[in-house]
Symmetry: D2
Subunit: 139 residues, 4 copies
Amino acid sequence: MPTMNAPELIEFLGRFFPQSRPERYQIEYVDDRRLVFRYQANHDDLRPGDTVSGPTLMALADLGMYLAVLAAIGPVALAVTTNLNINFLRKPPAGDLVVETLILKLGRQLAVGEVFIRSGDAPDPISHATVTYSIPPNR
Amino acid sequence: MPTMNAPELIEFLGRFFPQSRPERYQIEYVDDRRLVFRYQANHDDLRPGDTVSGPTLMALADLGMYLAVLAAIGPVALAVTTNLNINFLRKPPAGDLVVETLILKLGRQLAVGEVFIRSGDAPDPISHATVTYSIPPNR
Amino acid sequence: MPTMNAPELIEFLGRFFPQSRPERYQIEYVDDRRLVFRYQANHDDLRPGDTVSGPTLMALADLGMYLAVLAAIGPVALAVTTNLNINFLRKPPAGDLVVETLILKLGRQLAVGEVFIRSGDAPDPISHATVTYSIPPNR
Amino acid sequence: MPTMNAPELIEFLGRFFPQSRPERYQIEYVDDRRLVFRYQANHDDLRPGDTVSGPTLMALADLGMYLAVLAAIGPVALAVTTNLNINFLRKPPAGDLVVETLILKLGRQLAVGEVFIRSGDAPDPISHATVTYSIPPNR
């Protein structure tokens, strides 16, 4: 069981990160180890050739891990990314992106996860990231 | 000597990546191994506590390496990032960010560089990234 | 179906990399996307506290991806690692290590995979790596 | 001024990590932010084509950061690597390797540095790594 469910996560994002425009994210699955959301890339996310830009994919990977950490440990606005490593694997066409995060370790100080981004329902990932978050001590 | 100078780089960005709003970037130094630009973080780049968001820093690291590759080899719109690894080192306060890219290797197929992002003129980096670009064969 | 099976992989290692002492590796599963081998850590692999050293885990991750690439594309002695990113997640006790590699992308020039290292049959990984190999053009 | 000087570092390695055979490392420079050592690759470190193996380079990068952390904060046997990212840039010929570590951040819990490995006195690095160490709380 996750500590925060999908509506609570979206509400939390809207309150603390209104810039992230949470109305654009649709959480499709969440438990305490795995979170999947869907995002529709828009014009600002595209680069020449109508592929989704690298920065958009990096922001999605970072957000995926953030939401997965929140779902696991509850509302901790001040968890911060310490490391993100991403491999861009395939050209991401315009359209829906599905972001799947799996937590690999949830420690007292650090949480580590991996994030697959897929194009719609195609099986092969267009990018894969590993992300580390630092969890604040006093919570 | 770089293959493209600062005005040519900004003009190229404006033509191929209008979304990146190149008027916000000020290239302060460029040669064929090193490029430095300055960027003023704005409201959209901030997160709670008025620190610059991780996605903004990742986008700047990616752009720094892209500009350094362009400066070294000329206008190649289709160079694409294959890997980016970033460590977030210190809280980035709102204000000017200075992005310094050093090319570590410029091969036929791959270019690898490192990117330091500093807050204004403070010496310690707030983040450090290594970035790999794939260079298209037919150019 | 893999291009090389388990005995062929071990025989290849012994011929080209005798230093790797392939008699210490036991391939438990191989297809063209996934490879699992078992390795028994010995005295040289340990550091204070009888945990397996980081360099041993990095060498195993690199070898896992190399074997998975060989299994997928055949005997290519000159495939070389271009990038390896590893997160150390849990203390690795002395004893058997199980190394599972999944290929995320097999391109013409680059292969990218992820490698989980587990301690015996415990489910949680002690380390997770992503590894990129460059594949030589003339094969 | 470093907290530990070159002879103290080598003595410490010999006591806690006799497997690392510290007699093979020659520390050429050390202060509290930068450490340079020289290592002569031997037969076990080579792979086909007489290039230095990836695992040897990864072990050297890890050791470089460990020594730099020790030099900065004193004898902490239990500092452990949490993340290592390495790019292999050029073929490393047999012979002397020079390993230069620069500390990017020395926090209470985490230390982050970058490590350049060069072949003898050639200026271009053959590999570049970023390494994160976790520093134990009770010291």
